[in-house]
């Protein structure tokens, strides 16, 4: 993969990751042009386009476009899966992710991406492993903050810093360890708000139904497959 861009329906860049060396100006130009082309495509069109010497695969999730420029020999269909996997990871991490999550926690989105893809190649094919790595790293970030500010001070931890997690978890002081739902995340982070370098995003406004609004869920919950059938009978 050469690069990955996330941008909104309005053409605002939300995330960019370049795996090839390019000057800042070229990146900007390329990104802007590609955005225009992708946004100009109709929903009926296929997700692939060949543009300049690039093979581009894009997919729209609610208000966000995920766009990858891939190598010539890369599998386009699989790239769609890769995009989907990334969205799933974001969804798991943030708990029904929406565009606002990515805006306000862009660095987290980058961390997840870096844990999933490295140098343009998939790093781990297991969702669980990626999330585990991110959670542990997050925890380390938080615990370090805690430790450094003297809230928890366990002298032997200094020497065995890698055991910090184990100790804290067993001590039961870190309830925030398992993030399973958004509410828990909020709770945990609120508790730690003063301690952390990066407080969480703002309380989200109540979800609006419009598909274009940035709070729309990127991943729709699976609907039951059987949809109510519309009767075809003549009303008269």
């Amino acid at each position: 993969m050469r690069f990955m861009l996330l941008f909104s329906r309005q053409g605002k860049l939300r995330l960019q990751k370049w795996y090839i060396a390019m000057s800042e100006r070229e990146k900007k130009k390329l990104g802007r042009e590609l955005m225009q082309i992708v946004l100009g495509r109709k929903p009926k069109m296929c997700s692939f386009l060949e543009w300049k010497d690039l093979k581009v695969v894009y997919k729209r999730y609610a208000s966000l476009y995920f766009c990858c420029a891939i190598e010539d020999q890369d599998n386009e269909l699989l790239t769609l899966e890769l995009i989907h996997r990334y969205v799933e990871l974001l969804d798991k991490y943030f708990g029904s992710v929406c565009e606002l999550d990515i805006i306000f926690n862009f660095e987290k989105a980058y961390f997840i991406l870096d844990e999933f893809i490295m140098g343009g190649e998939i790093q781990d094919t297991s969702k669980k492993n990626v999330l585990k790595a991110i959670e542990q790293a997050d925890l380390m970030q938080e615990v370090r903050s805690v430790v450094e500010r003297g809230f928890i001070y366990l002298p032997h931890m200094r020497r065995h810093s890698e055991n910090i997690f184990a100790n804290i978890i067993s001590a039961g002081t870190a309830i925030f360890w398992r993030r399973r739902s958004k509410s828990k995340v909020r709770w945990a982070t609120r508790a730690l708000d003063d301690l952390k370098e990066f407080p969480p995003g703002p309380p989200l406004p109540s979800p609006r139904p419009a598909i274009l609004c940035p709070v729309g869920r990127l991943l729709q919950p699976n609907l039951s497959p059987a949809r109510p059938r519309v009767g075809r009978g003549n009303p008269t």
Binding site: Q16, A21, N75, L80, F111, G119, E121, S126, N129
Partner: protein, 817 residues
């Protein structure tokens, strides 16, 4: 100094900005604060500030002043700092700036850090943005980490190694020993990274290719891994809608493809597993199709069994019928790739492919169109062309040009007969007339002129077409040309197959005049029309006066080319009326010169006609000389004139043919407006007269060349009719004891000029200045630029051939100003 606002707070403020200016304002203020904070070497908030910069950078604001701060963060001991520092480094730095090299040492320390996440960050950064220098320095550490006991580190190290090899291929061998264990790894992440690593190695060196195939026996191992994947039961960790680890499967299939390429043994080993994957993969979801697609590519690339290949093409055939447009797209793309090798297998899906021409998606349409053209052959050409013509009729404008030229090519290659060929091209011209490329007009004219028996049919059809519609320029040009050439056939109405439409002379002329006067017509179309009308003067019995009138109107046209033609044609009616029928005879058959180089073809054609009776050999050699001369001028397309000695008094008909429609655009562009002078005395006086009037004009003569006894003098005269036209009379004299023979002079001028070289008065320069050769040149300098000229002189002196090249730059200013 108060604590800076939090990152989220800043994002909120920026998002709250209503206008672009307001946003800029907020950012500028914040940047100022950040800068001062950086200046004070504030460690507590550096991390927060860099994070803010990353956000601003994403919005498109400059953030380069954070680059060094990123490095400081990386060097910090806090994990949070490192995390943001590395993120910033990956986003704000790139390998073009030397700053990134300062990172190398930190990276090296962190690669050996005790915490896996710090090592991970460092590996990830190296694998993302490491430059070749950095890769050289750190390759050793990466290699060590490949053997780490922690799978989290191993997979990252393997991908970092991939990056190292991409940057510095010669470091490849260093990683070779580690691959064996990596490929045996149980962890999917590590295995996936290992496969990627081996693919990268194979890409860079054919030796490793054989190494993996022969020494390491990688193929059976991969086959085993793939089999395990397929056979393994449900594992929620790696499952994607019922398929176990598609990412790994696809990667293994890709490596198998590289190893099996042109290797019988390896291909043999993987045949079974490929068949198994091809038949057992669930196709209801995209992910299954992704694997099938990769399998098909592998099957087609390796030396697989024929049964397997058929299976592969059938899978693609099934893809074509899939509801998902993405799958249809990849099917067409891969069919296009294999149409060269497995033509017949692809041919079987022709009707499905043709159906894709009606797809709503333009990308699919384009692919289908390309594929259709690839599938046309002698046996299906009629059917396919019908479909493609229908497509041309209905498709979006963006397709028309490509589709039209595709049809032209295919029709030329596979046309069952001439009539069909011409019908097809005419059909294209009528449906997509204004979209076809310019070179199709001469091609079609050539084709028509060669189809002797069909002239009457063609001219009638074309005449019908332009009576209805004169807006399609290429069609009109062809039609006008034909009407001009074969007007007599049009009137006689003798064509046996269809009931001929009776047209009167006036009707024919009406159409042509309409085209000539219409504002819709392009300039070159008008030129075609004028010539056609002129040609009709000998083909129509009773309309001579009307034609004469029509032509004379354009004697005062604003366009030089049209005017010149009209004046010349008018002169034909008056002074040279006795020659007119001979001059306006039909064009001789145009020789076929191939279609692949339109430029070559037409230029070549020009030369041929110009040469007339000249043997082809000589023509070619002259052309070669001209090309030599061309090389010498800095301009890409200078104008060059050949002496016209050889063709002065030939069959008179051919001389005027040069003016004819077919050549016109080329004549204009290359400036070779040959053929007029001898025939049409539009203000050119004979050289002697010019010499006499030379002194009157007062342009001083110059000596252009004086060497070895050969002296060439230029004298100048400006044309009274056209001040941009300069007549140069050159006078070559010989002061040696012996005559110079076979004297030939060639001249070239920059592109902005037009040069015409008349025939010299002889080819022998008598010795002892006892005589001279004179030759007249006409130079049209419409842009009034300083004149430069390059001369090439060839002569035999004392039986020795001489060839001299010289530049003439000292033209008197009066000659060009």
């Amino acid at each position: 100094m108060p604590a800076p606002v939090r990152l989220r707070e800043l994002i909120r403020t920026i998002r709250a900005a209503r206008t672009q200016a307001e946003e800029r304002d907020v950012i500028q203020k914040e940047c100022a604060l950040i800068r001062s904070s950086f200046r004070e070497e504030d460690n507590t908030y550096r991390c927060r500030n860099v994070a803010k910069l990353i956000y601003m950078h994403m919005l498109g604001y400059p953030a380069h002043f954070g680059q060094l701060e990123c490095l400081k963060l990386i060097a910090s001991q806090r994990f949070t700092d490192k995390r943001i520092g590395y993120l910033g480094a990956m986003l704000l730095l790139d390998e073009r700036q030397d700053v990134h090299l300062l990172m190398t040492n930190c990276l090296k320390n962190d690669l050996n850090h005790s915490t896996q996440f710090v090592q991970g960050l460092s590996l990830c950064t190296l694998g993302c943005m490491g430059s070749s220098d950095m890769c050289r320095d750190l390759a050793g550490e990466v290699e060590k980490l490949l053997k780490n006991s922690n799978s989290y580190i191993r997979k990252k190290a393997a991908l970092a190694a991939v990056h190292v090899i991409r940057k510095v291929p010669e470091l490849l061998e260093m990683f070779l020993p580690a691959t064996k264990n990596l490929l045996n790894d149980k962890n999917h992440g590590v295995l996936h990274a290992a496969v990627v690593l081996v693919i990268e190695m194979c890409k860079h060196s054919p030796d490793t290719h054989t190494y993996f195939r022969k020494n390491e026996k990688v193929v059976p191992q991969l086959v085993k891994s793939l089999k395990n994947l397929i056979m393994s039961g449900y594992s929620p960790e790696h499952d994607v809608s019922g398929i176990s680890d598609p990412f790994l499967q696809v990667q293994i299939l890709r490596l198998l493809r590289m190893l099996g390429k042109s290797d019988d043994e390896a291909s043999e080993q993987m045949n079974d597993i490929l068949a198994q994957v091809a038949t057992n993969t669930e196709t209801s979801k995209n992910v299954g199709n992704a694997i099938l697609y990769e399998t098909v590519l592998t099957v087609m690339d390796i030396k697989s069994e024929s049964g397997l290949r058929v299976l592969a093409v059938n899978i693609l055939g099934r893809f074509l019928l899939n509801n998902d447009k993405n799958i249809r797209y990849v099917a067409l793309t891969s069919l296009l790739k294999m149409v060269q090798t497995d033509h017949n297998a692809v041919q079987r899906h022709r009707s499905t492919i043709v159906d894709c021409l009606t797809d709503l998606d333009v990308s699919i349409k384009r692919r289908a169109m390309d594929l259709c053209f690839a599938l046309v052959n002698g046996s299906n050409v009629r059917g396919m062309m019908k479909e493609l013509l229908y497509f041309l009729d209905h498709c979006d404008p963006e397709f028309k040009a490509d589709c039209a030229s595709g049809i032209f090519l295919a029709a030329e290659k596979y046309a069952p007969n001439k009539r069909w060929h011409i019908d097809t091209i005419m059909r294209v011209l009528t449906t997509a007339g204004s979209y076809v490329r310019d070179d199709s007009v001469p091609l079609l004219i050539q084709l028509i002129s060669n189809a002797n028996s069909l002239h009457a049919y063609i001219v009638q059809k074309l005449h019908q077409a332009i009576r209805v519609d004169i807006s399609q320029q290429p069609l009109v040009q062809v039609a006008v040309w034909c009407v001009g050439e074969y007007g007599d056939l049009l009137l006689s109405g003798e064509f046996e197959e269809e009931t001929p439409v009776q047209v009167t002379e006036d009707e024919v002329l009406d159409v042509l005049e309409k085209i000539l006067h219409s504002s819709l017509s392009a300039l070159s179309t008008r030129e075609y029309a004028l010539t056609a009308i002129m040609k009709l003067s000998t083909r129509l019995q009773s309309s001579t006066n009307r034609i004469r009138k029509a032509v004379s109107i354009y004697g005062s046209s604003l366009d030089v080319e049209l005017q010149q033609r009209a004046v010349e044609y008018s002169a034909l009616f008056m002074r040279f009326d006795h020659m007119r029928p001979a001059l306006l005879e039909r064009m001789p058959l145009i020789q076929k010169t191939g279609t692949n180089g339109p430029m070559n073809a037409t230029i070549h054609g020009d030369e041929k006609e110009e040469g007339g009776n000249l043997p082809v050999q000589e023509q070619l050699s002259q052309q070669a000389q001209v090309n030599n001369l061309l090389d010498l001028l800095d301009d890409s397309k200078p104008t060059v004139s050949l002496p016209e000695a050889s063709k002065v008094h030939q069959a008179r008909g051919e001389l005027l043919d040069l003016l004819d429609g077919l050549n016109m655009p080329d004549l204009q562009s290359s400036g070779l407006s040959a053929g007029q002078p001898q025939l049409l005395p539009d203000g050119i006086a004979p050289p002697s007269f010019q010499n006499a009037s030379n002194s009157k004009q007062g342009i001083p003569s110059i000596t252009a060349f004086n060497q070895n006894g050969l002296k060439i003098e230029f004298s100048f005269e400006r044309s009274k009719a056209n001040p941009n036209m300069l007549f140069i009379t050159l006078c070559a004299s010989n002061s040696t004891e012996i005559d110079m023979s076979n004297f030939v002079l060639q001249a070239a001028v920059p592109k902005s000029f037009q040069l015409q070289l008349m025939s010299p008065s002889g080819s022998i320069i008598p010795a002892k200045n006892s005589g001279a050769i004179t030759q007249l040149m006409r130079v049209l300098n419409s842009q009034k630029q300083p004149l430069r000229m390059r001369l090439k002189l060839m002569y035999n002196h004392k039986e020795v051939p001489f060839e001299v090249m010289t530049d003439v730059n000292e033209f008197p200013t009066q000659a060009w100003e």
